[in-house]
């Protein structure tokens, strides 16, 4: 209040739009909380469609995080620790899905991995296996959307944790693999954790690429966001219940990411 008394009251020209913006952001979420059918919350959670969607979302989001850990960590290490021609180009390419409209990502995946896609067609001719409209397709779509978040978070953590320790480890006779396993990765662990949470959050909410590439089949490819989208027409209470779950999870993620321990070692 001391600032207010010395500089005067905030002008209405700033105060009014600020309050409008704040109201606009808060009110829809508040109404969602109010309109959620809390008395039937657990009953609605028990319906088959909801259970299936919850199960698929849990399965695919965990699979996505595992894919990020196994594939994204080496990519982040490569970008952070190895100098090669085209490194900045690769980093830029890896970043593109971050800003790409999800539906475009879905179209790109169909083009590459669809039944008649460049790789998907070849795969079908050779093995008879097709990817689209399967749970695997959901994981691929989610991984495509989530990996950039993970890679950028981990690359940043690897750079911050310092290349000097790699030099120290090498002077003590460690191979690059030993160094990665015993020094680099443990030091970057907070970044790995933050990246995994970011990837998980992105996977939970992924809708556009999933529905384009994997469709919306209950029991195989219908995730929570797809079910919410469909249910809003037929059964708004289900849609609100599922939305409430995602809202709770999102707030929990935000809280955990704001925890300093995750952001800085």
């Amino acid at each position: 209040m001391s600032r207010r008394s010395t500089l005067g009251a905030p002008p209405a020209l700033l105060l009014v739009p600020a309050l409008v913006a704040a109201t606009f952001l808060v009110v829809p979420l508040a109404t969602l909380v109010i309109a959620t059918p809390w008395s039937r919350f657990f009953e609605l959670l028990g319906t088959e469609a909801v259970r299936d969607a919850l199960g698929i979302t849990a399965l695919t989001s965990v699979a996505t995080v595992i894919a990020c850990l196994l594939l994204g960590t080496p990519l982040a290490w490569l970008l952070a620790r190895v100098e090669f021609r085209g490194r900045s180009l690769l980093r830029a390419a890896v970043t593109v899905p971050l800003v790409l409209p999800p539906v475009v990502a879905g179209v790109a995946l169909v083009t590459a991995l669809g039944r008649n896609g460049l790789i998907g067609g070849l795969l079908r001719d050779l093995t008879g296996v097709t990817i689209p409209y399967t749970t695997v397709a959901v994981v691929l779509a989610h991984t495509f959307a989530s990996m950039p978040f993970y890679v950028l978070a981990v690359e940043g953590a690897l750079r911050a944790s310092g290349e000097e320790y790699d030099v120290v480890a090498a002077s003590l006779g460690a191979t690059r693999w030993t160094t990665f396993r015993r020094i680099t990765l443990p030091l970057a662990l907070p970044g790995v954790l933050a990246g995994a949470i970011l990837a998980w959050a992105r996977s939970l909410g992924e809708f556009g690429a999933t529905i384009t590439f994997a469709g919306n089949y209950p029991g195989t490819t219908q995730t929570m966001p797809s079910l919410i989208y469909g249910a809003l027409q037929s059964d708004p209470e289900v849609a609100r219940t599922l939305s409430m779950i995602l809202l709770i999870v999102s707030v929990a993620i935000l809280a955990s990411l704001r925890n300093r321990w995750l952001v800085r070692p």
Binding site: A170, L172, G173
Partner: protein, 333 residues
């Protein structure tokens, strides 16, 4: 030139950074002195194999540069400027890391690691993380870690930098004991003349990336050929062509009138600064005739009597017999 089978032969040539050729025998402790930016750390990193390569290095008859040998295969022990202990590993795991990386079993590596911590008197700190160690303790762990792999070449980059004076003094004495028992070659980059005098068997003075002087610590301390070393050992050194003259600040007489005696051993100038130095006061004088600043020690009583304060014009003189004359054996620099 034929390679000696034992010992280090280094011809480092990293253009624009450092160009230095020198040899060292097993058991030698080579102190590398020089001002900031002289190329000391670059030289050390080139020997470790972590700077950009340039020149040739041979250790005990094996070339490290033709074909190039990776850092991890060189068998060097490095103590880096910042201790660079692995922050997530306890003291024991830090010391055991090199042994385990070279294939020792966990139990063996930990036994040897404990032994090394005990030699440095910090066995009870084995389970502590680096952040729980004091500067002196952490530096002991870092040195123990470097020595635990029994390297043929030990590289110490300013091991006492950032430590309290008392801690540094204690660690210097301890290091002297360990280095005496160490059969390999040690390179010690330092800013302290004291390190060179107490720890080294040979001194290498670098200046602007080139070797300005090398010799025994006593020789380099008594007859410095660079201003940097002259300052480090607290001597006035003047140069005329290839001839140097060195004299102690305690041998300098300060007066307000032109003194008697040889004109080439007296200078006039303004006092730039006065600072305590032991029991005496050390004057820094901008001696115009000498072409550089000279230092002179006077008693506090004399300083008070003569009114020696900054800005005051004084005469400095030194007796012919108090001056050490020597020449640079090699021209060029």
């Amino acid at each position: 030139m034929s390679a000696t089978p034992a010992g280090l032969r280094a011809d480092i040539d990293i253009p624009g950074r450092v160009t230095a050729s020198f040899t060292a025998e097993p058991g030698d402790v080579v102190a590398v002195l020089g001002p900031n930016g002289a190329g000391k750390t670059t030289l050390l990193r080139a020997l470790a194999g972590i700077a950009e390569p340039g020149g040739e290095v041979m250790l005990n008859g094996t070339s490290w540069t033709d074909p190039p040998v990776l850092v991890r295969d060189r068998g060097v022990g490095v103590v880096f400027q910042q201790q660079a202990l692995f922050p997530h590993l306890c003291a024991l795991d830090n010391v055991a890391f090199g042994l385990r990386s070279r294939g020792a079993a966990r139990g063996d590596a930990e036994r040897v690691g404990r032994d090394w911590l005990a030699r440095f008197g910090i066995a009870d700190l084995a389970g502590r993380k680096p952040r729980e160690l004091s500067g002196g303790q952490a530096q002991r762990v870092a040195i123990a870690r470097a020595l635990a792999t029994e390297p043929a070449l030990l590289l110490l980059d300013e091991p006492f930098a950032g430590l309290d004076v008392g801690v540094a003094t204690a660690l210097r004495l301890e290091l002297a004991r360990h280095l005496a028992a160490y059969s390999g070659i040690t390179l010690l980059v330092t800013h302290q003349a004291l390190d060179a005098l107490t720890l080294a068997t040979r001194v290498l003075v670098l200046d602007e990336g080139l070797i300005a002087q090398q010799g025994t610590p006593a020789d380099v301390a008594a007859r410095p050929r660079t201003d940097h070393v002259a300052r480090l050992v607290g001597l006035n050194v003047l140069r005329a062509g290839d001839t140097f003259s060195a004299f102690s600040p305690t041998a300098v007489t300060v007066s307000l009138r032109p003194p008697e005696g040889s004109a080439r051993l007296r200078w006039r100038g303004a006092i730039l600064g006065v600072s305590p130095h032991g029991d005496a006061l050390r004057l820094l004088v901008d001696a115009a005739g000498a072409g550089r600043h000279l230092i002179a020690d006077v008693t506090p009583a004399a300083a008070a009597e003569l009114g020696l304060t900054p800005g005051r014009e004084v005469w400095l003189s030194v007796k012919e017999t108090a001056v050490e004359w020597y020449s640079a054996p090699r021209s060029g620099r």
